[in-house]
Amino acid sequence: MGRFVAGRLAATLPVMGVVAVIVFALLRLAPGDPAAILAGDAASPEQIVAIRARLGLDEPMIRQFAGWIWRLLHGDLGTSIISNQPVLRLIGDRIEPTLALATTTILFAVAVAVPLGVIAAWRHGTWIDRGVMAFSVIGFSVPVFVLGYLWIFGAAMQLRLLPVQGYVSITQGFGPFIERLVLPTLTLSVIYIALIARTTRASVLEVLGEDYIRTARAKGLAEPRVLTRHALRNAAVPVISVIGLGITLLISGVVVTESVFNLPGLGRLTVDAVLARDYPVIQGVILLFSGLYVLINLGIDLAYLIFDPRIRY
């Protein structure tokens, strides 16, 4: 097991390497110039050239890349070109809201979707099943930002139940913290409820056709027990996969949701950085995200180990 984890962690290195190269190349090839952005509207070309030189942006790409990797290996993610802040600090400032939103979304989605999926599979072909599936498909079909506006319009503006926007750190009290996360969570989780419920249904449906389910029934077990103990546990692996995949997909939803609800999270940091060509920040954040992706995948594999004793690494 320890060897497995170590092996897997080692195997992430090539992935991270690929990511680093892709990101770096992509960014440097993109038009746009942080120096011009820094200089502002009335700047002259000569001034922009001077700033570019000062930032080291006129060096050959390979040199810049090597420098970045070198500093990275020393734990230095660099400094934002635009705001002059260390990238690590920028990320540190922004990580809490994103983490909070991602966590509530996943928890809520799983809590709702898994039971829905199991019930739909169990009652395969009935109106309950069709209802769950219809909801899933509709959840897939509405753009996130439209959903966000609808929530704000309904729950915050018309009913005045919840705040419109903003974020309060959990350190300032759980009430205000959760209050501001309700609408973003509802907005973002719809698509994950859809995704997870659908996968759960398919997976449980498949397991229900397995011989050991028949065995369980032949033993005279009651249906709830057959569903939870026998069906769901065996169906868990694809469901966990899709939850993990969901976490990695979450980021695009997070970017939009953070904008709509004004959450000061990583998603917005990244989009801002991309638009401002703030290379060190983008590189840092994407590296973080892909590291997270790799870790999540590792977590998923470990979950397989727990859920399926047949798998031994």
């Binding site: 497995f4 092996g7 195997a11 090539p14 397995e210 011989d211 050991y212 028949r214 065995t215 369980a216 029934r217 032949a218 033993k219 005279g220 077990l221 009651a222 027990r225 103990r229 026998h230 546990r233 065996n234 859920f307 399926d308 004793p309 047949r310 690494y313």
Partner: protein
């Protein structure tokens, strides 16, 4: 004494466009206490439907339309769902065919056993339950129950799993045990042990057993009474002795006749010694162990090392058939796949007409591929389901430059040879039965005009009657084309019928080799002797003769 199970006039209609109106029609059957009733019949005859109907486990599409099923006098078909649940696992229990899939892979054996006890209110609880689980495991002769309760199904062998299933069935001392082909998936030695266990338990517990099988060897081994089913109907019923030795119905007779005899036919005259087509020398194959997996090893992980083949030497002349017997996992398929060069052997030589092909790869192998053809075990998977039969057959010859017209002409004549209508070429594999598909696979192999035919368990998946037809076909093809055949099987009787010589494999090694008759008459190796002893039906038949 009142019967444990009484089925009267049971009919189960088939939905929609089945090939017949009823899966089971007007079936009547009884099982008394302490009695083993065997239900035999070809595939699709309605045996499983009957069993599931008794358990109340039929899929929703199948609904009994008439008749009744009485368990200790209580009508099962009329029982409420909760009453049915109480009966299942309580009064009646079932053992399924596939031990590999019938146990939940993510729960320990102990937990699954305990569950049957939990599910029924009258069962013991706590400590007592645990003791009972251990006792059950001991009852079915599972080794080291204390350790094994914590094992997961995949850590058990097939035979052990089937024992767990049986223990599960016994848990609440049911009056009726239904066993649906419980040994079909097991190899002979294991099968023998399981049958012995069933007999022993029935004697000890006095439960009625409804035992479903298509193997007359098994019937001969354990049945008190026999019921023969065909196309959903009961065609014959009687004591085992009566049905086996004096079958009334022609269908029953046909089934019994189709069972290959356990004594080899007299050695047939063989063509004069020609140089061997195939010479395999000290062939070895090791699975796992890093290096071979190349770049994958950089990112993957080294696995467990398996010596699937260990210095195996074999030779084969034209017109000769060599049988390879051995239990599951002994390396038979690996040998076949090495010779056919689907896998790269780790060491040793494979000579086709003197040319060593063991080290060749890719294109270099191309000229030799034509000369060795394989027929696989699973007739359902050995034909591409998305291609018509014709293209599948002419594909090979076309690859070697045979003109289309010639290839198609040959395909048509091959259809004739394997006893199918040439119009079969226009159809898809799913439109054929298993036996027909196996004929098509043979035709495909023959289309290549090979020198060597490898049949890897080519008849194991087929019904006895169909099996007989395919064996006949192979025999006639061998005569006509002077083929060398490497015939892989785990069934000694089948081997006896077709093979000139035999090798017996164990753990990747050849442990015995000789003329078929000689091996049968005087097996040298202990393992070979064990194989003979385990063959179902061996005792009774001996006794009868």
């Amino acid at each position: 004494m009142s019967p444990v199970l009484e089925i009267r006039g049971l009919s189960v209609p088939l939905p929609g466009s089945g090939d017949r109106a009823h899966a089971v029609e007007g079936l009547s059957l009884t099982v008394g206490p302490g009695e083993i009733v065997c239900v035999v019949g070809e595939s699709g005859s309605g045996k499983s439907v009957t069993a599931h109907a008794v358990m109340g486990l039929l899929p929703p599409v199948l609904k009994p339309s008439g008749g009744e099923i009485r368990l200790l006098g209580e009508d099962v078909l009329a029982a409420s769902p909760s009453r049915l649940r109480a009966l299942r696992g309580g009064r009646m229990a079932m053992v399924f065919q596939e031990p590999m899939t019938a146990l939940n892979p993510v729960l320990t054996v102990g937990a699954q056993l305990a569950e049957v006890l939990e599910a029924h209110a009258e069962g013991p609880s706590g400590r007592a339950r645990h003791e009972r689980v251990l006792a059950l495991m001991r009852d079915v002769h599972l080794p080291d129950p204390v350790r094994m309760v914590r094992a997961y199904p995949h850590q058990l062998s097939g035979g052990q799993r089937q024992r767990v299933m049986i223990a599960m069935a016994l848990a609440n001392d049911p009056a009726l045990i239904i066993a649906d082909e419980p040994t079909t998936a097991l190899d002979v030695t294991t099968q023998a042990q399981i049958l012995k266990l069933m007999r022993e338990l029935q004697a000890r517990r006095d439960a009625g057993i409804l035992f479903i099988t298509h193997d007359f060897g098994v019937v001969a081994e354990i049945a008190d009474r026999v019921a023969v089913m065909r196309r959903g109907r009961l065609v014959e019923e009687g004591t085992a002795e009566a049905v086996l030795s004096r079958p009334q119905d022609p269908y029953t007779r046909m089934l019994i006749d189709a069972v290959p005899s356990a004594t080899p036919p007299a050695p047939r005259p063989r063509p004069a010694a020609k140089p061997p087509v195939l010479e395999v020398e000290s062939l070895a194959k090791t699975y796992g162990g890093g290096v071979a997996s190349g770049l994958g090893g950089l990112f993957g992980r080294p696995g467990r090392v398996v010596h699937a083949l260990d210095r195996v030497s074999v030779s084969l002349r034209p017109g000769e058939t060599l049988g390879v017997v051995g239990e599951s996992g002994s390396g038979k398929s690996t040998l076949a796949r090495c010779i056919a060069r689907f896998v790269d052997p780790s060491a040793g030589a494979i000579r086709l007409d003197g040319a060593d092909i063991a080290g060749l790869r890719g294109r270099a192998l191309h000229p030799y591929r034509r000369r060795v053809q394989v027929i696989f075990q699973d007739p359902y998977r050995s034909l591409n389901p998305r291609r018509r039969v014709g293209p599948s057959i002419v594909e090979g010859p076309r690859n070697y430059g045979t003109p289309a017209a010639v290839a198609w002409e040959r395909a048509r004549s091959l259809m004739d040879l394997v006893g199918l209508d040439p119009s079969a070429l226009e159809r898809y594999p799913h439109e054929f039965s298993g036996g027909q598909r196996q004929r098509i696979a043979i035709a495909r192999a023959l289309a290549m005009e090979p020198d060597l035919l490898i049949a890897d368990e080519a008849v194991s998946a087929l019904d006895v009657s169909v099996q007989a037809q395919v064996l006949d076909l192979l025999e006639s093809v061998r005569e006509r084309l002077n083929l060398a055949i490497l015939f892989i099987t785990h069934d000694l009787r089948v081997a006896a019928r077709l093979c000139d010589r035999l090798i017996v494999m164990l753990n990747g090694r050849v442990v015995e080799e000789g003329e078929t008759a000689a091996v049968f008459a005087d097996p040298q190796h202990a393992y070979t002797r064990a194989l003979f002893a385990a063959a179902p039906g061996a005792h009774r038949r001996e006794a009868a003769e």
